[in-house]
Amino acid sequence: MRNGRFCLLCGGVLLVIGSLTGCLQLTQSPPLAMFTASSTEQEVPFTASFDGSLSHESGAEIAQYLWTFGDGGAETGPIVTHTYVEDGTYEVQLTVIDASGVSSTATLTVNALNPTPTAGFTYSPYSSMGGAYNFICCSETVTFDASEMCTDDGTIVSYEWYFGYRTSDNEPVTAAGEIVTHEFLYAGTYTVILTVTDNDGGQTEYSEKVIVEGGQPCYPDTEDGTCTSPGTCGG
């Protein structure tokens, strides 16, 4: 009698164990979503390829690869490509779904960069004396022109010039505008830097060395403000 009761009890416990084990086996392991991207930071427009074949099935075979690219685009398949045309930060998401309907996702951030403007300038007058650099004379009015050499996919909203030296108050000598003029009072080599900014905030710097000839400072010394002793300028 007692053994019969024990056997019933034992059977019940075995049933519980079996049920638990069965429940555990019914719990599907999700697949593992993983992918590589050929590029995650580049100026638009650019095309990146995404490879989800690293994804791994834990149980049933992976049946679907669903991609979203963060800009409204979507694709299916283990290997896809996508072109970003607008700058911004996008989250690429891969969802893999196995044959039993269990899914897993992986994400990666893509930075589509605003294309920076191109920058450059010309200046005049200058004397080409051969060699690497152009020469201008001290106290000569030099016109710096960025109107022809700067381009952008949008609009350039500012041109900032730095003429390569500072005042006695240690303030940088600068100017703003597409076309500016400047007079260098001392002979020397100046690195003139132009910084252009477009309407998206993209910035580009362009610099060029300007050599000013003349061994002495050349100050206006006449009533009409002209300089009669421009050092060695003009020979």
């Binding site: 056997c7 009890l9 590589t36 991207a37």
Partner: protein
């Protein structure tokens, strides 16, 4: 919770001692399966990345080296000490302490423009403290019974990860295991069911074998800074599923505690 469990064990053991006719002290050891399903999913992710890097650099002219895959943490060694008071012929109650340990590791270097090391070492240690009951339903020389227990589990998980990808790697991976060393701890309560076959060699010594299933899972293992365990760096913390089958071989020493000197 830990203190409560200890008090419960002590109270049970002391109170039953007065009723007991036999004290059975048992020492057993054996392999123990442990689910650790989410941890093993993370290990699978490690291995997928390692295999991918091995394949990539196997064909790369400027990079040498490979890294071995990690073994999954699906089994470990369990050591158990328990004592039980046999209240009647068919029923004994008692307490136990069990230690379960499992680990896995790999290390390798890719040599290209620089040296990139991948070194991963994972280990889990669990101490279980619990109360249990043993019901004997067959006693024909060979004894057979089932066990039912409840345990408090204190789990420590150690993670040491170096995962340096050579600069020659041309793409960007969606996730890379976060590097660093950390120790995570968690506690939980669990249940254990099992069957035991025992053979009394002499009146005071029994050899036995048992198989049992442990049902326990800890969620939210945290390190000293309060950060959750996230092995694969996917932003989702892994739970420590301690469920699994354990097979043990052991011996019991039976001590007669009866005041009248009755022998079994």
């Amino acid at each position: 919770m830990k203190g409560l469990t200890v008090c419960l064990c002590v109270t049970l053991l002391v109170s039953t001692a007065g009723l007991a006719s036999t004290l059975e002290m048992t020492f057993s050891a054996g392999p123990s399966a442990v689910s650790l399903s989410q941890v093993n999913t993370a290990i699978t992710a490690f291995n997928v990345l390692i295999e991918h890097l091995n394949e990539t650099f196997d064909a790369h002219p400027d990079v040498d080296g490979s890294v071995d895959s990690l073994d999954l943490m699906r089994s470990g060694l369990a050591l158990r000490a328990s004592e039980a008071f046999r209240l009647v012929d068919w029923l004994a109650v008692g307490g136990h302490v069990e230690i379960l340990r499992s680990s896995t590791a790999t290390r390798g270097v890719y040599s290209g423009a620089g040296e990139s090391t991948i070194g991963i070492a994972l280990g889990i240690s669990t101490i279980g403290l619990g109360v249990d009951a043993h019901v004997r339903f067959v006693d024909v020389g060979l004894q057979m019974g089932f066990d039912l227990g409840a345990s408090y589990y204190r789990t420590t998980f150690d993670r040491s990860v170096i995962f340096e990808i050579p600069e020659e790697y041309p793409d960007t991976l969606s996730s890379v295991p976060p590097a660093g060393d950390a120790r995570y701890t968690a506690s939980t309560l669990g249940l254990e069911f099992g069957l035991t076959i025992a053979y009394p060699v002499v009146s005071w010594l029994t050899v036995h074998s048992s198989i049992s299933y442990r049902a326990a899972s800890t969620a939210g293992a945290l390190d000293s800074a309060g950060a959750a365990l996230d092995l694969d760096g996917n932003g989702q913390s892994e739970s420590l599923a301690l469920g699994g089958l354990a097979v043990r071989l052991g011996v019991s020493i039976n001590i007669d505690l009866s005041m009248n000197g009755r022998k079994e």
